[in-house]
């Protein structure tokens, strides 16, 4: 058996901990893939119902309000307020396990102005020196999308004061969070 073959077999056996580079979850449904491609060209793009104009998230086939099937991908407001926030100290996914070695990983649920609720990575540094506990429910935040190192669009929440108008600002935030690079393990396969 060639070395290359055994390597592939090992990866197939779902032992990501041995990989040199671990990345965020790649897997998406066809709807999730469409969300990713729709967001490549915008700050925050979601489905809007043609009939009733209700904004949809998570991405779906049918309007949650009128059951219409004409859902158009359009830019939506990035403004919203925080619902709940926590720091993860444990993950089932290798990429995050490696990130968690240094510090916990903050995530949040946010209610956007368009009435959708989103899960997002939380960029704590944008809140200055505030500890996580001090960022209460109702705190104004902005949510934008950025591609992670698995090339999926993911959502990032930052404080309302944070400047995210330029693509370079948003890219810098995603990079600082480590989302755009793989989590490496020296000597991995």
């Amino acid at each position: 058996m060639s070395n290359k073959h055994t390597r592939r077999a090992r990866l197939k056996l779902n032992r990501p901990s041995l990989r040199e580079r671990a990345r965020p979850p790649k897997q998406r449904t066809p709807m999730g893939q469409t969300f990713t491609s729709a967001n490549y060209s915008g700050v925050l793009v979601m489905q809007h119902c043609q009939q009733c104009e209700v904004v949809q998230y998570p991405p779906r086939e049918i309007c949650q309000n009128c059951l219409g099937d004409e859902l158009i991908w359009r830019e939506t407001s990035t403004a919203g307020y925080l619902l709940s926030r926590i720091e993860l100290h444990h993950s089932l996914w290798e990429y995050f396990k490696r990130r968690l070695i240094d510090k916990p990983w903050p995530i949040a649920t946010v209610r956007l102005e368009n009435s959708t609720t989103v899960f997002s990575h939380l960029y704590l540094a944008s809140f200055g020196d505030l500890p996580l506990e001090a960022i209460r429910k109702g705190t104004a935040v902005q949510v934008f999308s950025h591609s992670d190192s698995s090339l999926n669009s993911v959502l990032i929440a930052v404080s309302a004061q944070c400047d995210i108008s330029q693509i370079k600002d948003r890219a810098a935030i995603a990079k600082t969070m480590g989302l755009t690079t793989a989590a490496e393990r020296p000597g991995g396969i």
Partner: protein
């Protein structure tokens, strides 16, 4: 009592009577942290155990209700050939923590209408090496696209967000959740099948456990495992004829995706039908001798105390502070309510869909007097509640029933 009412989810129907239906042969297959056996083994052995205990022949079972996350390519009907059963009534209930009570409701109607005479209701799941990761990362389409990618925390992440919000909103402290977990561990210490029953748990250990997600620490999280839980349903007349100890259904109800307007989950569908549940049973909350809640995380049990009418919304933390939740009522608190008498999922383990049957099976065992070291004395009424399916940011299913000891 103040109860927030929902504008768009108000069930106006009232379920008909469950008269004449008996629950017998509560059976649990010993759980294991990991097992090489597949789901059919746990489901089949649960069925075997029920038949052994009752003396009923396999060919007499003409109804089968099954819940499992790990059947793979199979469904309930594939199991009929695996076990060589020939049922004329079959049901598969993929509703996680609410599966047990929902199976009970469906099967009761089949018995009443004569569609089947003896129905086996079974929840069973396997636990292979690393199989929980696969279940958690592919739990639903919304999970795959919109929640799992954010930290890969699985259910811990979603419930940590709900728990943190509940603590901020109602002032619950970790010590309050400890009260639930510690009482359940005490119960598990008296239930030999509990995976963690050989270990005691102190408040110090609970508070200083390893951090998992936000306010959740190790002992707030259930341990995924393999196991099986089941019971048989038949007419009361048949149970008497077979001289089996049984219990009866006084009331049962369910409601799914209730309160979609709540920004973060603070309640589930129970709040909408709890009054009719007590009315139909002719009982009040203080007539309940045993309460079995779905305890995937302590905050969910606390919501059930509130929504099931044991205290007001937001009063959950105070309620657990003044209530003794031990099965033998030996705690120092004056108010007594034996709760999750086998130790619940927190101390017994979460065997996938079997976890949705565990509270029901434990209740039947208690009411028929087959519990051993953890038998609750003088118990005639038990309330069982189910909760399940974190599709995205909240649990969708809610179900509850009130059972009564039969006069066998």
């Amino acid at each position: 009592m103040t109860r927030i009412t929902s504008p768009n989810a108000t069930p106006t129907n009232n379920p008909g009577s469950y008269q004449g239906v008996a629950l017998v042969a509560a059976s649990s297959i010993k759980y294991s942290r990991q097992s090489h056996h597949g789901a059919p083994w746990f489901i089949g052995r649960t069925l075997h155990k029920m038949l052994m205990e009752t003396g009923i022949k396999k060919a007499e079972v003409d109804g089968l209700a099954v819940s499992s996350f790990s059947l793979g390519a199979d469904s309930a009907v594939n199991l009929t050939q695996h076990f060589q059963l020939t049922p004329r009534w079959i049901e598969q209930l993929p509703y996680g923590g609410a599966s047990g009570v929902i199976a009970l409701r469906r099967a009761a109607r089949a018995i009443q209408c004569g569609d089947a005479h003896i129905i086996a209701c079974i929840g069973g799941d396997a636990a292979f090496h690393r199989s929980f990761e696969a279940t958690a990362s592919q739990f639903s389409n919304f999970t795959i696209d919109s929640s799992f990618p954010y930290g890969g925390g699985g259910p811990n992440a979603a419930f940590a967000l709900i728990t943190q919000h509940y603590m901020d909103e109602y002032g619950a402290k970790r010590e309050d959740f400890a009260h639930i977990a510690l009482a359940q561990r005490y119960n598990a210490n008296h239930y030999p099948a509990a995976l963690l029953g050989h270990k005691t748990l102190t408040e110090y250990q609970y508070l200083n456990a390893r951090r998992i997600a936000g306010p959740l620490h190790l002992f707030d999280c259930v341990m995924p495992c393999a196991g099986g839980e089941g019971f048989l349903m038949m007419s009361e007349a048949r149970a008497r004829h077979l001289k089996l100890r049984y219990c009866l259904i006084l009331a049962a109800d369910e409601l799914h995706n209730a309160h979609p307007q709540d920004e973060v989950q603070i309640r589930a569908g129970w709040s909408e039908y709890v009054d009719s549940l007590y009315n139909n049973a002719g009982l009040a909350a203080n007539d309940i001798d045993i309460l079995q809640t779905y305890d995937d995380y302590p905050v969910i049990s606390m919501m059930q105390f509130e929504d099931l009418g044991f205290c007001d919304k937001g009063d959950g933390p105070d309620f657990v502070r003044r209530t003794d939740l031990r099965f033998d009522r030996t705690g120092p608190e004056k108010n007594k309510l034996p709760h999750n008498t086998s130790g619940g999922q927190l101390s017994v383990g979460q065997a996938g869909a079997a976890a949705g049957y565990m509270p029901l099976v434990e209740s039947i065992r208690q009411l028929t007097g087959y519990a051993e070291n953890n038998q609750v004395s003088n118990a005639t009424h038990s309330m069982v509640s189910g909760f399940g399916m974190i599709n995205y940011d909240r649990g969708l299913c809610s179900a509850a029933t009130i059972l009564k000891t039969g006069q066998a």
